[in-house]
């Protein structure tokens, strides 16, 4: 009778793992494409104001950012706690916006220049005086498409 007894163990075959690396590579490429490396260091505290009627920014690559707010705690000793403008990685005056816009515009291709948007990221406690100055300066360098960055109300 023992003739029919099968000694060999039935093992579940390993799932083929050959395509695993392909799957991971696909994910990798997805994140490589979508990622934006430019993470500029924020030197001003910005709490965005709330607005319910906000629209999405379509083209992130065509956008330049102007941050306005009080310097962060560690820099307040040096720069005081008055509202300041941050372009790229340093504090700038209103007059330097012109150069900044010119540089940003040069970096874009000819066809995209008319779609350039300037996003104003201002703190909610900023006074409008400095924002108005920035707006006037933008008008002077004819960067007319602007966006007031805001966040959705929390409730």
């Amino acid at each position: 009778m023992s003739k029919f007894k099968q000694k060999e163990k039935r093992t579940v075959p390993n799932p083929p793992s050959g395509s695993l690396s392909d799957i991971v590579f696909m994910l990798l490429f997805f994140f490589m494409v979508t990622t934006t490396m430019r993470t500029e260091e924020s030197k001003v505290q910005v709490v965005l104001p709330e607005a319910s009627e906000i629209a999405k920014l379509e083209r992130k690559d065509l956008t330049s950012y102007i941050n306005i707010g009080t310097p962060i705690r560690s820099l307040q000793g040096q720069f005081g706690n008055d509202s300041r403008i941050q372009l790229n990685d340093s504090f700038k005056t209103v007059d330097e916006i012109r150069d900044f816009i010119a540089a940003e515009r040069d970096a874009l291709s000819e066809a995209d220049r008319s779609f350039m948007t300037v996003a104003i990221k201002a703190d909610e406690n900023t006074r409008m005086g400095i924002v108005t100055d920035v707006k006037q300066e933008l008008r002077k360098c004819s960067a007319l498409k602007i966006m007031y960055t805001a966040r959705k109300p929390s409730n």
Binding site: T34, T35, T36, S52, R127, I146, M147, A150, R151
Partner: protein
């Protein structure tokens, strides 16, 4: 006979890819910037003579915010929450009030003639106004226009403005224009 080259062990490529993947997962920023989009008026040409722009007084509503974030719309002080209805009334002019803006019949492509309000909202602020208050007012103005657009889209296409296709949205935008003028900076604090 040529020597057979041994196959490269490829079992670790998945691990390497995982490490890279983790790196990009950490650094990626998926957050999208959102906000209110505006178009600034171009700078007036200094050589150009200032022409007397004849805009009928009834077609303009002046919204002022002073340095204490108080609001004045038309000629009456009000709260931000009341502003939306005021603006909607101003833009629609349901009773054809002679003090509210006139309407003009214009021909819209793909739609036909339509009565379009000639009203313009002029927003003025003080240097001392807080950005928060300014944005709240801007938001109310946009909300008023968006609601009117929704009404128009509902009446003509049976769906909300954002649900309409590109062509229909263009029609709605023409029929309910968003005329918000951000005036030249003015010092409104002095009496």
């Amino acid at each position: 006979m040529a020597k057979k080259t041994p196959e490269i062990n490829s079992s670790s490529t998945a691990d390497m890819a995982f490490i890279l993947l983790c790196f990009f997962l950490m650094t990626t920023t998926m957050d999208q910037d959102k906000g209110l989009q505006r178009r600034l008026p171009p700078m007036p040409d200094p050589n150009q003579k200032v022409e007397d722009q004849k805009v009928n007084r009834r077609n303009i509503i002046v919204v002022k915010i002073n340095s204490a974030d108080r609001l004045l719309a038309g000629s009456e002080p009000m709260d931000v929450s009341q502003l939306k209805d005021k603006i909607k009334e101003f833009l629609t002019n349901p009773t054809d009030d002679p003090n509210l803006p006139e309407k003009e019949e214009i021909e819209i492509d793909n739609f036909g003639p339509c009565m379009v309000s000639k009203g313009v909202i002029s927003l003025q602020n003080d240097r001392g106004t807080s950005y928060q208050a300014y944005m709240a007012v801007q938001n109310e103005l946009v909300k008023a226009v968006n609601e009117l657009r929704d009404d128009f889209a509902m009446a003509n296409y049976g769906k909300l403005y954002l649900k309409c296709n590109e062509e229909e949205q263009a029609v709605v935008r023409k029929a309910v224009p968003q005329n918000i003028s951000e005036a030249e900076p003015k010092d409104v604090s002095k009496k």
